[in-house]
């Protein structure tokens, strides 16, 4: 009963309600601008809310977090520039929809699906947090490594056309991710003795350049053509549409909440894995994936928003951050005199239920703010290209600079923009590059951790995989997914089917 009271705190205090709303609203716009990240917004808020009480401070932060994760989809759909890494997969099918004049529908579906995903995440947090965090802790370095390999196999679904070009792009991404001082041994890699390269290449700069600048350059080809007229007949998706996608959205939410709960992986990987899952299970999409398939929006958007609830699971139960934003929130709790850790749930259960309440409220606000003002937003795509292209460039430059307040990042961004333009021109997909950069560290660090733990003995390493049920499941999935992408699989399938028919 006390839990219920704590849960309802946020609903009964207008001041807190207002702060959550304000946070969500601001989050949507901060999230929509590439380079302005939720992580950054929340860390600024720590100083800003220093003298406040803990409840209002947390309310505002949670609002920004929830709104920001959703907001990244806006620019992904409208301009093909993901506002945040977790919206990369959203751009793949969202932007083609906008090009067809269906930006309104795309944003509508995205909003409702984010809302559903958000609730699944919160539900799991509220009902099964200790269980999930126990499971998440079971992941050993070798399991993270297998997860990263599983992620790299997504190259197949992210590259339309030539798989070889996709693999090349993925490998390039992994190499880009490895530049700089290796965080484990501090050895320099691909730095060529330039001090500039020691800190590595900012992943956000690569993303903004590859998507934003290359898009602007590509648009220059059509500068004299008229912009696509947007039809804004239906923004809120019909109940039938929601119902149709409900099974998929529940599956992808589960992926989201699990990946979100793992310390070290977050919404970006969750969204990409969910996209891949959708591509695998959807037999007959109305439109092919990459061409504006609704499922291609449903999957990543449910996953990245359910990852929010997921990220709070290890934070609340163990004091271990589930992602960068929850890491900062742990700092904020410390500053406000709490001791986040395994004892927080026991010492101060009110905090847990208060956070759950805030998340619920933020999720509702996200739906409200998300569905209003869409008409205004879709106008962006209708702007003449002579206005739109400079706008994209401006956004990209500001975004790249904002990440580290460094001009170097702007140069990187522009360089990768030009490079991305040529890659597109020659039919190299950009998705796998970003995938490679995201997974590079995860794969590299955990492979080394895993093999060092086994005293660099491959035999012991494989023994570990076979004896741990979790590793075994992941390992078998890697093999199956890999084989399913080779010609071997279709041959085997054909034979099995033939046999089946012969028998019947």
């Amino acid at each position: 009963m006390i839990a219920l009271m704590d849960f309802l705190t946020v609903f009964t205090q207008p001041e807190l309600l207002l702060l959550v709303g304000l946070g969500t609203f601001a989050g949507i716009y901060v999230g929509a601008i590439p380079g302005l990240s939720v992580t950054m917004a929340v860390s600024i808020l720590i100083s800003f809310t220093f003298s406040w009480d803990v409840y209002p401070a947390i309310s505002l932060m949670i609002g920004i977090y929830m709104g920001g994760v959703y907001g990244g989809s806006r620019t992904a759909i409208l301009l093909n520039i993901p506002g945040a890494p977790s919206a990369i997969a959203t751009a793949l099918d969202g932007y083609p929809m906008a090009k067809r004049g269906e930006a309104g529908t795309a944003i509508g579906v995205t909003t409702v699906m984010s809302f559903i995903g958000g609730f699944v995440g919160i539900g799991v947090l509220a009902l099964a947090a200790p269980l999930v965090s126990e499971f998440a802790l079971k992941f050993q370095p070798r399991d993270y490594m297998l997860l990263a390999i599983l992620g790299i196999l997504l190259v197949g679904s992210l590259s339309q056309g030539s798989l070889v070009k996709g693999i090349f792009a993925g490998a390039l991404g992994i190499a880009i991710g490895a530049v700089g001082r290796d965080p484990l041994t501090f050895a320099e890699r691909f730095t060529f003795d330039f001090q500039l390269l020691e800190g590595g290449i900012s992943f956000i700069a690569v993303m903004i350049g590859m998507f934003g600048v290359s898009e602007a350059l590509l648009q220059l080809h059509h500068v004299d053509k008229d912009a696509v007229r947007q039809k804004i007949t239906r923004i809120v998706p019909s109940l039938a549409t929601v119902k149709k996608h409900l099974p998929l959205s529940l599956q992808t939410s589960t992926i989201g909440v699990t990946i979100g709960a793992l310390p070290g992986t977050g919404g970006d990987i969750a969204a990409l894995m969910a996209y891949d899952h959708a591509k695998r299970v959807t037999k007959n999409p109305e439109r092919p994936f990459g061409d504006g398939a609704m499922e291609g929006l449903v999957a990543p958007e449910t996953a990245n928003n359910s990852a929010v609830g997921g990220a709070f699971i290890p934070m609340m139960t163990l004091g271990i951050p589930g992602d960068a934003v929850t890491a900062i929130m742990i700092g904020a709790l410390f500053i406000h005199g709490l001791n986040p850790g395994p004892m927080l749930m026991i010492d101060q259960p009110d905090m847990f239920w208060f956070i759950v309440g805030c998340l619920v409220m933020a999720n509702i606000f996200m739906l409200i703010f998300g569905l209003t003002g869409i008409k205004l937003f879709t106008r962006i795509v209708e702007m003449p290209r002579s206005v739109l292209i400079p706008l994209i460039m401006l956004l990209s430059i500001v975004g790249a600079y904002a990440v580290n307040n460094s001009v170097t990042d702007v140069y990187w961004m522009l360089g990768f923009g030009v490079f991305g333009y040529f890659m597109r021109h020659y039919g190299y997909p950009l998705g796998p590059v970003i995938l490679g950069v995201i997974l590079s560290r995860l794969l590299d660090d955990n492979w080394r951790r895993a093999i060092i733990s086994e005293r660099e003995d491959l035999g012991r390493f494989f023994e570990g995989i076979v004896t741990s049920p979790l590793s075994l499941v992941l390992f078998v999935s890697v093999i199956l997914i890999f084989v399913s992408q080779t010609p071997l699989w279709s041959k085997a399938k054909a034979r099995i089917f033939k046999d089946g028919k012969a028998k019947s």
Binding site: T39, M40, V42, S43, I46, S47, F50, S51, L137, K138, F139, Q140, P141, G180, R181, P183, L184, T185, F186, Q195, E198, G199, G200, P263, G264, P314, L318, G319, I320, P321, A324, A327, I328, M329, I330, G331, F334, I335, G337, N339, P340, G341, P342, M343, L344, N404, N405, D445, R448, R449, I452, S453, R455
Partner: protein
């Protein structure tokens, strides 16, 4: 010629007005060496608002990560020594030179305040087959290479503590598994990916309280009032008295050459802030020892810290260059 004189005169006039004008007359940039949410970040973000109050100005804090903090350090070292760009960092830059990570350290800076110091502690997974420091040493000797220690790269706290153990007990055959920070390593410890982790008390205290990890020994010469029942390492081996007490620290620095009155104001502001009850409470909760020293006292502390740690690592064979090359005397 005339133009030069006018130029020189106006430059003189400018510096003169700058000196007369009350510092701070604009925002101060505080560059935090480590990422948001980490120990350094938390400490700096909680002390600075109190310092702002004392200073009557604004300090805009910004995280600048990369290359174990060297990027932030070089950035501040390269900015103008006017007190408007200050560095908020931890202990590790003192080891950059000998670790081959950079050619600058806090020697390029004037310390404003060494705020607090942490106490290292050896923690283990609750299922580990030993319950205290002596048990661990015995187990490692019986099972060479089997015990996995967490590490955070050369020069990090775990590497220093491991070097200390090797110096006192003789070479121990343990497997060092690298992590990119003590947070992820302690997560790995709780999941059983590593067995033992030398960590700072503040980062592990909540896990210890909950029984998710057990204390093998506090790496100090006396019991800690946060964990009064936990054994301290000199109980097991007197040899540690040579090296302890040792610990990581947090400090605020300004480039050398900053005007004295500006330094004095900053020192004053941060030493006032370090005594703020809220901050004292926070440091105590996190298991840090409050220091709040500035000026010559801080300089002496830094020199002693660098000498002790650099030579310890040198003797353990972990350095890229000898401390002697940089004029770091053997303690």
């Amino acid at each position: 010629m005339k133009r030069m004189i006018v130029g020189a005169l106006s430059a003189f006039a400018l510096t003169a007005t700058a000196a007369i004008a009350e510092y701070p007359e604009k925002e101060i940039q505080g560059i935090i060496q480590w990422g948001a949410g980490g120990s350094t970040d938390t400490v700096m973000r909680s002390v600075t608002p109190h310092a702002e109050e004392a200073l009557g100005g604004t300090v805009v804090m910004q995280n600048m990560t990369g290359a174990v903090g060297a990027i932030a350090l070089n950035h501040v070292a390269g900015s103008e020594a006017d007190g408007y760009t200050i560095l908020m960092g931890a202990e590790n830059p003192m080891l950059y030179k000998i670790m081959g990570l950079g050619d600058k350290d806090y020697g390029e800076f004037t310390p404003i305040s060494i705020l607090a110091r942490g106490t290292p502690v050896l923690v283990a997974h609750p299922d580990a087959p030993f319950n205290d420091y002596a048990g661990m040493i015995a187990y490692v000797k019986e099972n060479p290479g089997e015990v996995r220690f967490g590490s955070t790269g050369p020069g990090g706290l775990p590497s220093v503590i491991t070097a200390m153990i090797n110096a006192v007990e003789g070479e121990l055959d343990v497997t060092a598994v690298p992590y990119d920070g003590d947070g992820p390593a302690l997560t790995g410890l709780q999941g059983g990916a590593i067995d033992v982790m030398p960590a700072v008390l503040g980062a592990s205290i909540e896990g210890i309280r909950a029984g998710n990890m057990k204390v093998l020994a506090i790496m100090d010469t006396a019991a800690n009032d946060k964990l009064p029942d936990a054994p301290f390492v000199t109980q097991f081996n007197e040899g540690y008295n040579t090296y302890l007490p040792w610990g990581p620290f947090f400090g605020v620095f300004t480039p050398k050459g900053t005007p004295d009155d500006v330094v004095a104001k900053l020192v004053d502001a941060y030493s006032t802030a370090a005594q703020n009850p809220d901050f004292v409470q926070l440091m105590d909760d996190r298991g840090f020892t409050l220091m709040g020293i500035g000026g010559d006292e801080a300089d002496a502390f830094l020199t002693k810290w660098q000498q002790g740690t650099a030579w310890l690592l040198q003797d353990a064979g972990l350095t890229k260059a000898s401390p002697e090359e940089f004029g770091i005397a053997r303690p």
